[in-house]
Amino acid sequence: MSLNVRTEDSRSFTKTIYLKGSLDTETVSTFDQELDTVLESPLKVLVLDLSELAYLSSAGIRSMFRAQKSMKARAGKALIVNPKPAVQKVFEIVKAVDLSAVFASVQELDKYLDTIQRKMKEEE
């Protein structure tokens, strides 16, 4: 099974990594390299779009922990959008993510990001 990753800048200080395929022992290094590159930027919000991720194993979970820990360390957020049922099941079994950081759709995520951006502007 293979993994395709691509990153897009969205809002200010926000990047989205799109994962397509399978995040497992064989492919995790592909994601890790992309994550390392993304984390070099001054990022406040990292979105992992899992709409096209069909399979996730514990190797991938460890990378997601790393993403969440890194974002927390810089007082940022790691958010997940649209996990497939099989992937959501794995998240629930290992409690890998704060489930309030999982969004079922891009629309839900956008509403949440609007709120965060408003708060960030108020704090400036």
Partner: protein, 135 residues
């Protein structure tokens, strides 16, 4: 129906998992079951290949997949260090993310996804048997 697989190195894992998932999918006509068995096998075999032979030449693992009308079974045999995965304490799932340890997740996934998991040491061989019932 039984299928036998052998592997010695991590580089062989993907093709074994592909073949295993394909066999489950054809035998059960369930992609969901095939994916779950693939995940269970990946977690179990990764543990063997990474940790069973720390000080010796890796001898890999032998996998027997059985598919019948009621269940899918996986038996994994290796001749590595004695290791009972069921004896490991579960990971601390409720700790905050920054305190979470990364180990133990694979075994926890196996136990959660399978209907039955059993370990026995037969002479020099670890034997892990995993069963998932078909709906």
């Amino acid at each position: 129906m039984k299928h036998l697989f052998e592997l010695t190195q991590l580089s062989e894992l993907a093709s074994v998992l592909d073949a295993l998932a394909s066999a489950v999918s054809k035998g059960t006509e369930s992609k969901e079951l095939a994916d779950e068995m693939r995940l269970i096998a990946e977690e179990a075999l990764t543990n063997v290949l990474k940790y069973a032979y720390p000080e010796s030449e890796p001898r890999g693992a032998k996998v027997t997949l059985s598919v019948d009308t009621k269940e899918v079974g996986l038996e994994i045999r290796d001749q590595g260090l004695p290791f009972d995965p069921l004896a490991k304490p579960p990971p601390e799932l409720d700790a905050p993310i920054e305190e979470r340890e990364e180990g133990g997740l694979g075994i926890h996934l196996i136990k959660s996804l399978a209907d039955e998991v059993a370990y026995v040491r037969e002479g020099e061989t670890n034997v892990l048997r995993i069963t998932k019932r078909r709906l």
